[in-house]
Every structure is written in C-alpha cells, then in structure tokens.
Amino acid sequence: MADLFDRFESLRARRDGLVGDGGHDPFQVEMDEVLSQTEAMIEGRRTILAGTNNYLGLTFAPESLKAAHDALDAAGTGTTGSRVANGTYSGHKALEHALCSFLGKEHAIVFSTGYLANLSVLSTLVGPDDYILMDADCHASIYDGVRMGDAQIIRFKHNDAADLDKRLARLAKKPGNKLIVIEGIYSMLGDKAPLDEIVAVKKKYDDVYLLSDEAHSLGVLGRYGRGLPEEVDLEDDVDFIVGTFSKSVGTVGGFCVSSHPQFDLLRLACRPYIFTASLPPSVVASAKTSLELVEKGGALRKRLMRNAERLHSGLSALGFTLGGDVSPVVAVVAPDVEIGVAFWRGLIDGGIYVNLALPPATPQNFTLLRCSLCAAHTTEQVDRIIEVFAEVADTLGMLPKQPKKKAALG
C-alpha cells in the first residue's frame, strides 16, 4: 500500500542528498539562546547573526519592550479570535491610525502576518475580469495570494519596465482593471525596483493600479523609513502598500495601507483577515512603538548602510560574486548547491550565521549565501564576517588567485 508521504519522495531525496550526512542542516538551525539583536548561541557556540531581517535592531528596543510588557499586563496574552468574529481591541485601531499617519494614507488594515496581508489583498482586490501584472521575482506570499484569487496572472521580467509596458499595451483594449505588483527591495538579492520607470509606464494606461510590497524596504529606505516610494518621492503614485512588522519593526504582523475611499470593504472580503486570530496586544503595542522608532531612526539607517557598504566592499574585494548593489541584503553567489552547503557549514562552524537560499526559491536559480545586516552590528562584527568568509573560501580552495577581480566562488 502506498504511504501517504510517498508524494514527498523527491523532496526527501533532495534533502537527504544535501544534508543527509549528519552535518548541520541549514534549514533546521536551532538558536539555543538569543543573546542580543546580533548574537545567539548555536550548538554551544557564540554566533554572529548575519541572517536575520532585523535591519534596525529594534527587537530589544527598551521602549518597545516596555510597551509590550504594559499591554501584556493590561490586556492579556491573546485576543483568542478574529477581529470580525471576536472583536477589535483598542490597540489594533491605534496601530492602524499610526500606520495611516506614518505612511500618509487614509486607510490601513493590520493582518496577522505579512504573508496573510498578501494573501488577503491579492486574492480579493482583483476579480475574474481583471489582470495582475507581477514582477517575476516576487515573494512566495505574492504568488500564493494571486493564485488564491480569480484574476488573470501575468508575470513581467524582473525590474523590466519595458517588458511591463509591452504586456500592458497588449491588454489595453481589454476591459478590466490591471494591478501591477512589485517589491521595494527584493528579498533575495537586495535589489530595488525601478519605481520611477514603473510609475511612468503605469501612467500611460487607464485603470492601472500599483501595489508595492515594502517588506524589506520599510525602515530601510527613505529619510523617515517609509520605504522606496519615499526615497524616490513617488508616494502618491503607489496605490497600495503592503508591509510586515516581522523585519525592521522587529515583531510579527502585516498591513496594507491605501487612500482608496472604499478600502475598508476589504475587511469584509478577505478570508485571511476574517478567519484567523488577530495579533495579541503585546505584539500590537511593540509594533506601534517600534514604528515611531523607525520614523525617528535616521541614525540607525545610517549605521545600517555603513555596515552594508563595509560588508559589500569587503566581500567584493575578496573576489566573491555578489547578487546586487549595496543594500542591507548582501547575497553571495555560490557556484552550485553542493559548494553552497559546504560553505554555509564552514561559516556556521566559524561562528557566522547566514541564510542559505536554494533554487527554486531564488532568482536565476542562484545558490545564495544571503547575509543581512543590522544597524546594531559593530564594525568588528562586520569585519569578522568578512574574515570568516575568507577563511572558509580558503579552506575550500575557492578564493580566486587575483583579489579585487570579480569571480564566482570557484
């Protein structure tokens, strides 16, 4: 008789081929103790965390900790239900107001995660007669969201406004709304969307809306941390902004903001809003407080970018191939999956935790050692990351003979 789990055979085979030798499994890392925003104990070793999305280091911000503690004591450990069925707490409304004033939009809805925000909005905003035009490198939550809905799903080439233009031109005769979906900073390579070009294309056609997922750019880009639209001064041209509290904001939760007058109707339409529990009071309180710190976080952003530049130029000078320009995500391209896994293990043995990212979750089928930086990383920590990268490359015999010359890890 066939076993229920036989259908996962190819997954099992792939996993066993990669990590079945008893070595560290990059996808089952256990942090025995979190010491700070930038350090944890992993396998008894003090390890530098260079694979979080804790860009501003707000997970231990004293103000946010205090707000969370107070809310916990005042309103309890959880809401035990959904906003629609079981009620909204005052904290939820206060957080939504804070998002509106921070991002300069009329309406905001908070969801239980960023993933659920994308599922919610993308599955309901557009219907069977409408079109989604999404960047091919969009996050899994965007793919899942559009698949849950009924709109026609069209992908355009990553960051290619001309390709988007071509596809919109072919749809111009067709009735129906068109929703363009992009990200501010793409999570794997850390590259930014060409928002000015995309907005210019959008304006050429009727009935076209633009949604940007600012998951990785909120708190990171813009003078006040409002993301890519603020940085390039196009905030009014982005109709919907999706974001998460799980990265720069340092807790968990997601949101969507918009100035569309009917935006609140989504509360009655989005199943991942109606049929899941709302965020607990402590999380809501820390998110609200951390948002204020994000807005005031100019100094943190400077430190974050300084760290990013240091790591980027250090690794680049060693001869590593990097996936993108300077950004808080620094992705080192490994020549293949096997070397990627060996390299990742060398780093973890050397006390550095980064993310291993494998196809098909990566653009261009890259195998990536994805590093992400934190404003709280010290210069010494960044230098140590570079040093261990050099050591591991040396052990594996892969540093190019000529430093400074860009080459793959091989």
Binding site: I153, I154, P359, P360
Partner: protein
C-alpha cells in the same frame, strides 16, 4: 481544455511552440501532440516557468499563469497558445 489537435490553427504558432520546447527537451523524446510535460519531458515547476518565459519572448505574448494547470500535453499548449496569439495580436 481540449486535447484535440489544432487543425485550423496557424502552423506558425505550432512551429514556434515546438522550436522553443525543443530547446528545453532534455529527454530526447520526440515531441508530439500527446507528449506530456511532467511524465514524458520531466518538467518541474521551475522549468515550466522558464519555458513559458521563453515562449512569451518568442511569440511576444503573455501566457497567464492561470492556464497552466489545465495544460498537460504539447497539443493542449499549442491550442492555448494559438488562442492567446489570436487575442493579443489578432
């Protein structure tokens, strides 16, 4: 989606589909209307995406992701592609 061969359809579209598909055919199987993407050509989701992108480039069309789950064979893809070409360029 019908699995019928596309009698009245333009030979150009069929030829283009087969030409692009051949560059993704790692199995050496002869491509026919009944050739199945998963079983005969060993396509996984990643390869499907790459192939569709190449087909879109070749014919200057957009293939909505929605049509993909219903397409199992080369013949079905030819029919679907012909329809898209008619709609977008016709």
């Amino acid at each position: 989606m019908s699995a019928e061969p596309s009698d009245g359809a333009s030979q150009d579209v069929r030829a283009a589909v087969l030409e692009v598909l051949q560059t993704f055919n790692k199995t050496g199987v002869t491509l026919q209307d009944g050739t199945r993407f998963t079983e005969d050509l060993n396509f996984d989701s990643l390869l499907v995406m790459e192939f569709i992108a190449a087909l879109e480039d070749r014919l200057d069309i957009s293939v909505p992701l929605n049509v993909l789950p219903d397409i199992e064979t080369v013949g079905q893809l030819v029919v679907a592609t012909e329809q898209i070409v008619r709609e977008e360029h016709g």
